[in-house]
Subunit: 384 residues, 2 copies
């Protein structure tokens, strides 16, 4: 049984040269920063992969999605049902692991979890049916949505952190049912059938919230008055305060909200850290926010965050309001005249820093130490 759960002999083929591999089994990999910002829509073969167990090998002809719990009518749906009974919807959305930039948090003070650089996020188009439409068919409406949760279980048995159980997670029914929430049950990515690494045959896409809620290889949706009972909802993916350690964490599991919406984030992808710099050159990177919020501005500092200037924002996502699910790229042309912002500074003293602001007027915190947390999640400190 233990062997079967941890059988990595049926993993999909991967173009490994495309990735920085953070963990081989389960497979966790991110593109290189320069590759990351080469395309507004990330090619599927470069899209970061975050697995918690061996990739399940699913026969679509026998696949059944179950919907149960606090619904008027429990459902069992084949892939044909899902494609035929519900309208097909396509959205463009980025997914981002809550562990993005964890390695930098660990450098300040050790945290537990897969080490991720700055590229555990990617942007793609997703097609499928609306979760909302399935929940309406299951008669999950007319309740007090504010008190309910849509709980997802995957078919990926063997999650080491959760004693071999499959991966599970939940979102609020308010997000699930919201017209503008755009939560999909996706069967296509970038116009092709979903690949095994990305959840074939069916996965959740919950845009604007941490990637951990977009459960892959979806087995079952349970409408419940509690959040998912999974380890990954109850104990993981929480920003504990910095007094919480491995000795006292159990006191804080219930007191600490589970993460949903992503905070405002940005990172410099080019030039790579430590590269030789010759004027003029270009600084490039990405900026993202959660909840569909729009990136309005990315500031660049050349002196470690003392003085700032605005970068040029390349925001291909045109909304509408509250539905800016994609990332934005930014660019800053560093020419000699830009040094007016830091008189007397010479090239070797350049300390490039970026920080984004979104349309909620929120911005990134300066120091990782101020947001350090035991699980190393949501590191959105200034990037340099």
């Amino acid at each position: 049984m233990e062997n079967e759960k941890n059988d990595y002999s049926k993993e999909p083929e991967r173009k490994l040269e495309q990735f920085i591999i953070n963990c081989k089994e389960p497979f966790n990999a991110e593109p290189t920063p320069s590759q990351l910002i080469s395309n507004f829509i990330t090619p599927t073969e470069n899209f970061y992969v975050r697995n918690h167990a061996p990739v399940p090998d699913i026969d679509v002809s026998t696949y059944i999605l179950k919907v149960d719990g606090l619904v008027g009518k429990a459902l069992s749906l084949t892939m044909r049902d899902i494609k035929e009974r519900f309208p097909k919807v396509t959205i463009t959305a980025h997914l981002q692991c809550a562990g993005n930039r964890r390695t930098m948090m660990s450098e300040y003070k050790k945290v537990k979890g897969v080490g991720w650089g700055i590229a555990s996020l990617s942007n793609a188009t997703w097609s499928g049916c609306r979760l909302r439409d399935v929940l309406v068919e299951a008669k999950a409406f007319g309740k007090d949505l504010g008190a309910l949760h849509a709980c997802f279980w995957g078919l990926d048995i063997g999650c080491v952190e959760d004693n071999g159980k499959p991966y599970g997670s939940s979102i609020t029914m308010e997000k699930a049912m919201e017209l503008d929430g755009d939560v999909l049950l996706a069967y296509e990515m970038n116009g092709e059938t979903l690949t095994r690494d990305h959840g074939f045959p069916l996965r959740v896409i919950a845009p604007g919230i941490i990637g951990a809620r977009s459960v892959k290889w979806l087995d079952k949706i349970t409408v419940s008055s509690n959040e998912s009972e999974s380890f990954f909802q109850q104990r993981d993916y929480k920003i504990f305060h910095n007094g919480v350690d491995w000795h006292n964490v159990s006191q804080y599991w219930d007191k600490t909200p589970s993460l949903q919406e992503l905070s405002v984030q940005s990172a410099i992808c080019l030039p790579a850290p430590g590269s030789s710099l010759y004027l003029p050159f270009q600084i490039m990177g990405y900026a993202t926010s959660g909840g569909g919020r729009k990136i309005e501005r990315v500031d660049i500092s050349l002196d470690g965050g003392v003085t700032w200037d605005y970068s040029d924002l390349m925001n291909e996502d045109k909304g509408p309001v509250n539905k800016y699910w994609s990332w934005a790229f930014f660019r800053y042309n560093l020419t000699a005249d830009k040094f007016q912002f830091a008189p007397g500074m010479i090239e070797k003293d350049i300390q490039i820093v970026c920080r984004a602001w979104d349309n909620s007027s929120n911005t990134q915190p300066k120091d990782v130490k101020d947001i350090w947390n035991l699980r190393g999640v949501m590191n959105n400190s200034w990037h340099q």
Copy 2:
């Protein structure tokens, strides 16, 4: 003419002992911090007042609201029309001046603007018609909302900053028309006819965004492909980067987005700064966010922000999702055993700090210096 515009002889009566007065003419005043947190719904007589000119003295029997610009049908509406033709809606929402906590920003480095302490915000119930319903009657639908703005002008001629023009401001048509946006044209506050200081007979209530957009004594709504041409939209209420000063600001007016949604904020109201402290005592304050985001957590530090603990949150606003327009209060009982979080600390060394997190996982920046801006807006740095 100049005299007439600046005639303060017809100001409403005010219970001045209820306020800290930051400017007498135009009248700008905030309640004391302890008064502020005495009521979840702020009594009207304690609600902060932010005026830019003398309070207009409006005869409701001749009052007309005009709606024009990019609409299918321009409207002229009496107060009777407004009350009879459109359903009456009531919401509870806080308003907060973008200049809240400006004085603290000025203490770091001087900024221009009315000095506000920590109490230029308040929470009330508002009744009126939906702006959306009026705009639908004006046939302002069916356009590309993303490119349009609802521009408001007040009847308060004599704004000193704008050469005696009335106050003006705009919001996006997406916010104006959004079903869940809850933008009202309000004629009642806390169940009574709007008072003169708060915009009698009709004002905008745009919840979740800076108070500056909730134009009082509403004269006209113009649907436009540009933001309001008012000084208060084009030049004021922007977070310039910290290299912008009074010599170069004109280069940055167009490059800097105008503020809309409020960022995450909190402040300690009790104990008052400098008061003598004897254990046990209670720390109390407020936390707010914009865009209807929910306050999920307020952290308290007793050592100036090195270590943190969670406070108790008293969140009377029950949503629904994306519509948490009210503030939340927090409380922290400081008993001797709490000192486990800062071993060896003695009472006189207590440095109380608070910071809030909302359901977007955003939190407040640590240092005011990192968000310092010429106009002194959106100071949401950690409060101590």
